[in-house]
């Protein structure tokens, strides 16, 4: 049954929303952001900050938009003198005990207290400088979380997250009145595998990530939409870079996958993206040693090897590689008439599963790779040990960014990767590729959802996206034209493979779409 709609007007803009929608959400549809602190769509309503007070015609008192349901014929005014003055009053109250230490606060620049004060706060304070401000020392809440109580506005988002979403209620509001602060259980730590979300949820600089502490100012950061590589869940994230270095990973909301949250494992899983020991140029073997060369020379070496090869070919690939790269790495050997016997396999590192109890179907998955499902859809198997054994007698072994290659082969080893593991020095050719932060691409998560990630920083030296490398090689072998962008690369995937049929980058957007018939893999 379709939702029953109610019609209302918000700041003169008529909107129709499903019955039961909160005014604050209806306002978003009208293009109006009602200032708020305690409200968060991923948490139960608290209604305590009193910031979202709005005027509703025919109601005697101002109402909080976060706890009022939209009703037929309702006329909401967020900019009426009464509503504005109420919010100005709340901001003044929030600031009297606030240390105003924005110059040394990590949140500055992405602080909702700053933003709304700038938008509609008083220009000056009426709180006498003679009065002391509330002071409590900084507390160490957990492995990655610091609490700075002096900046706290007691919105209780962190308390509600731990209680209702993580369902490990180790935080509370302690004390009363203006002495109140967020307390941590005396015998517990804020060390739930999803606890880091309280830092994102905190609208001010009160809960801080130790990992990000004093690393960058918010306005120095560039942001790119990405997908977490920590496991097969495929949580949507934003990569924050400063001067082309990834400094922070934060959740990007996707109601179908991770709602508003990511786990701490994923949050901390970015340092490798900044590795300095990268392969920066194609390398070819000359006189028993690898020597840097240009792409053309390297491609010629590879095509020479492949043209001369017959019999078995083994591809050992990383389940962290993009769908596009995996596709063209397969296409390379699909050439008709060359009679190659192809085996492709990948291995997945396994870990502990850590669910977020308050959100169905959301967990740090045991399978710690973002694109295992994608690799499977493209024909790669999970029989890694068998593939290794087959590699011994193969004519050509292609390794795609898989550092764990105890491979012994009588044939030719071609290594395509980001860094150079010791064994890869035995390769005939080494081709440098971009990592996930340095290219556009897609992953397919465990539920078969195809999701795009975007480039956050440039690749080092001559490194190029995997899809570019393999599509150029395919073209050099006379198998069609090379593709010029990740979007084109994906279009080729969609043309060729049934599960991706009909999908395109434009269609996927940045929240993804399910692949056809790609049901969940068993865990």
């Amino acid at each position: 049954m379709p939702d029953e709609l109610v019609n209302l007007t918000i700041d003169g803009v008529p909107v129709a929303v499903p019955k039961g929608t909160l005014v604050i959400e209806a306002a978003k549809q009208a293009g109006v952001l009602v200032p708020h602190y305690c409200y968060h769509p991923g948490l139960p309503v608290a209604g305590v900050c009193r910031m979202c007070l709005v005027e509703i015609e025919k109601q005697p008192k101002l109402a909080i938009a976060c706890a009022t349901q939209a009703a037929e014929g309702m006329v909401v005014k967020t900019q009426s003198p009464a509503a504005k003055s109420a919010r100005t009053g709340v901001l003044e109250f929030l600031l009297i005990n606030h240390p105003l230490d924005c110059p040394i606060c990590d949140q500055a620049g992405e602080c909702e207290l700053q933003d709304f004060t700038f938008q509609e706060g008083r220009a000056g304070t009426r709180y006498s400088p003679d009065y002391p401000k509330r002071f409590n020392p900084v507390e160490d809440f957990g492995p990655d979380v610091l609490y700075v109580p002096n900046r706290c506005i007691l919105c209780t988002r962190c308390v509600r997250f731990m209680e209702d979403v993580a369902q490990e209620p180790v935080l509370n509001v302690s004390e009363r009145g203006d002495r109140a602060f967020i307390g941590v259980h005396p015998e517990a730590r804020l060390d739930h595998p999803w606890a880091g979300n309280v830092v994102d949820l905190c609208p001010v600089g009160s809960l801080l990530s130790k990992d990000f502490l004093h690393k960058a100012r918010a306005w120095e950061l560039d942001k790119a939409a990405s997908v977490c590589t920590g496991c097969s869940q495929g949580c949507n994230v934003t990569l924050d870079t400063r001067d082309d270095i990834v400094v922070r990973v934060r959740p990007r909301s996707n109601l179908e996958v991770n709602r508003y949250f990511i786990c701490d494992h994923g949050r901390m899983n970015y340092r490798w993206m900044n590795r300095g020991d990268r392969i920066e140029a194609p390398l070819v073997k000359r006189g028993g040693e690898l020597h840097a060369t240009d792409w053309q020379d390297a491609f010629e070496r590879v095509t020479t090897v492949l043209r001369g090869a017959g019999g078995r070919v083994v591809a050992l690939v990383s389940p962290r590689a993009s769908t596009e790269a995996l596709f063209f790495a397969r296409e390379l050997f699909r050439a008709g008439g060359r009679g190659l016997e192809w085996t492709g396999a990948f291995q997945v590192v396994m870990g502990e599963e850590a669910p977020l109890p308050g959100v169905p179907d959301l967990a740090l998955r045991a399978e710690r790779a973002p694109n295992g499902r994608g690799a499977e859809l493209l024909g790669y198997g999970r029989e890694y040990a068998a593939a290794l054994a087959a590699a011994e007698s193969a004519a050509v072994v292609l390794v795609l960014d898989e550092p764990d290659i105890p491979v012994r082969t009588a044939g030719t080893l071609i290594y395509v990767g980001t860094v150079l593991p010791e064994r890869a020095r035995e390769a005939e050719v080494v081709l440098p590729i971009a990592n996930v932060a340095e290219e556009d691409g897609t992953f397919v998560n465990r539920d078969g959802r195809v999701q795009r990630y975007a480039q956050a920083k440039p690749a080092p030296g001559m490194a190029r996206p995997g899809w570019w490398v393999f599509s150029e090689l395919s073209a050099a072998l006379g198998q069609g034209d090379p593709v010029a962008s990740a979007a084109e690369a994906f279009a080729r995937v969609a043309q060729t493979l049934e599960p991706f049929r009909g999908l395109s980058y434009e269609q996927l957007g940045f929240t993804g779409k399910p692949a056809a018939g790609a049901a969940a893999v068993p865990a």
């Binding site: 608290a46 929030l94 509370n172 009145g177």
Partner: protein, 426 residues
């Protein structure tokens, strides 16, 4: 009532009739005085009929808000799909109010009987009597009375629990009270949902004040019309009410009068008036949360829900705080504000920060360091603290401040201008 003194001739003793009689505390003594007859009578009736009688009587909530009791009962679901609960608010935390304490001390069975009748009317199988933690003597008495009546089998299937509070003022607010019963921090809840839809443990719940429930048995035995007739003024305010008079009067205590009784007579006559050589300056008629009345307003005020509103205040809980001309209104108001700052639950921004800020300004004025702009600032803060929060604690802090500045502005100005010796406040 007059405990420990005899009732004044102008009192109408209904609830306080047996105050001072130790025998009335016992189950046998209560039955001898006609107790538990009303319960039996109620049990013979359909629940809706009991509610109707209370509706007809005009009884209104004695805890402070004055909501019609029968109407409140009628909000409970007619068709019972979930367990129904009754909560009895015996937290009596409003400064200046000490009537429920005396009801529980002297006539515990009146409360238990009223509770059982109300539980029947709303079809509740469990009743919680949430009793103020500091009320140790009333608790002991209630425990004894409950045990005696229970072993006499008067409650049938109804389970009555005495739940002791832990000392927070805010737990007298009905939704905070329910959280406290549930074992949670006593924070008021946002409404809706209202308690009749989702109250304690998420079940349909009615919350009534001690005095309200104690008035129910006589309404059943003597009839709604009789009770309704006990009014000197507005037909919207019926029956008798206990007023707790404290402050600068010669005989502080509880006095039970019919609705519409002149406040002037309560202060000057029943409570013995001012001390020798003193004159009345001000009066808070309904517990510390309501606006202050000056002398003229006090003398013109009739004690019923409408009469007090007409004079610019509220009947509230009936805690009458009297100030004579020796009272320092700035100090008194600071003490009230400090109380609210201490008791704010810290949920709503305006209350958490506003009550404390208000107190700081008042303390500074008293210390002789006030500024001319402080009074307008106090009024503006009070405006921001009124009608904008989950419960009315912050409104309650603002009410005496606003009315105090309006009516006794010269006292504030004397401190600010240095015409009055500063008071060092601890």
């Amino acid at each position: 009532m007059g405990y420990p003194h005899k009732p004044h001739a102008r009192e109408t003793v209904l609830l306080s009739r047996y105050f001072g009689e130790a025998d009335a505390r016992t189950y046998k003594g209560w039955v001898k005085r006609g107790g538990y007859a009303a319960l039996e009578q109620a049990r013979a009736m359909e629940p809706v009929r009991v509610t109707d009688i209370v509706k007809e009587s005009g009884l209104r909530g004695r805890g402070g808000a004055g909501f019609p009791t029968g109407l409140k009962w009628s909000f409970m679901p007619k068709e019972k799909k979930k367990p129904h609960y009754l909560c009895v608010n015996a937290d009596e935390s409003e400064p200046g109010t000490f009537k429920d304490r005396e009801i529980m001390r002297w006539t515990p069975h009146a409360l238990l009987e009223g509770t059982a009748i109300a539980a029947h009317a709303i079809q509740a199988e469990v009743a919680y009597i949430y009793i103020r933690g500091e009320f140790t003597e009333p608790l002991t008495i209630m425990e004894k009375a409950l045990a005696d009546a229970r072993s006499a089998g008067v409650f049938g299937d109804l389970k009555i629990h005495l739940h002791r509070g832990a000392g927070a003022y805010i737990c007298g607010e009905e939704t905070a009270l329910m959280n406290s019963i549930e074992g949670k921090r006593g924070n008021p809840r946002i409404k809706p949902p209202f308690p009749a839809a989702a109250g304690v443990f998420g079940m349909p719940t009615t919350i009534n004040n001690v005095e309200t429930l104690a008035a129910v048995p006589p309404i059943l035995t003597k009839g709604a019309a009789w009770y309704k007739g006990l009014s000197l003024s507005s037909p919207k305010s019926t029956g008798t009410k206990l007023f707790s008079v404290c402050g600068h009067v010669q005989q502080p205590g509880n006095y039970e009068v019919t609705m519409g009784f002149p406040l002037k007579d309560l202060v000057y006559e029943l409570s013995g008036g001012m001390r020798a050589g003193r004159t009345l300056k001000a009066c808070i008629p309904g517990g510390s949360s309501v606006p202050i009345l000056n002398r003229e307003e006090t003398e013109a005020c009739l004690l019923d829900y409408e009469g007090v509103v007409e004079r610019g205040s509220m009947l509230g809980s009936g805690g009458v705080i009297v100030f004579d001309d020796s009272a320092d209104m700035v100090y008194q108001i600071m003490r009230l504000a400090r109380f609210y700052a201490h008791e704010s639950c810290a949920q709503c921004t305006q209350c958490r920060e506003g009550t404390a800020w208000t107190t700081k300004i008042l303390e500074r004025i008293l210390a002789g360091q006030g500024k001319a702009a402080d009074l307008d600032l106090l009024l503006d803060l009070s405006e921001n603290m009124t009608g904008k929060t989950i419960c009315v604690l912050s409104d309650s802090c603002a009410a005496p401040v606003v009315s105090g500045i309006k009516k006794f502005r010269n006292e504030f100005e004397d401190y600010i201008a240095g015409r009055r010796k500063p008071v060092m406040v601890a």
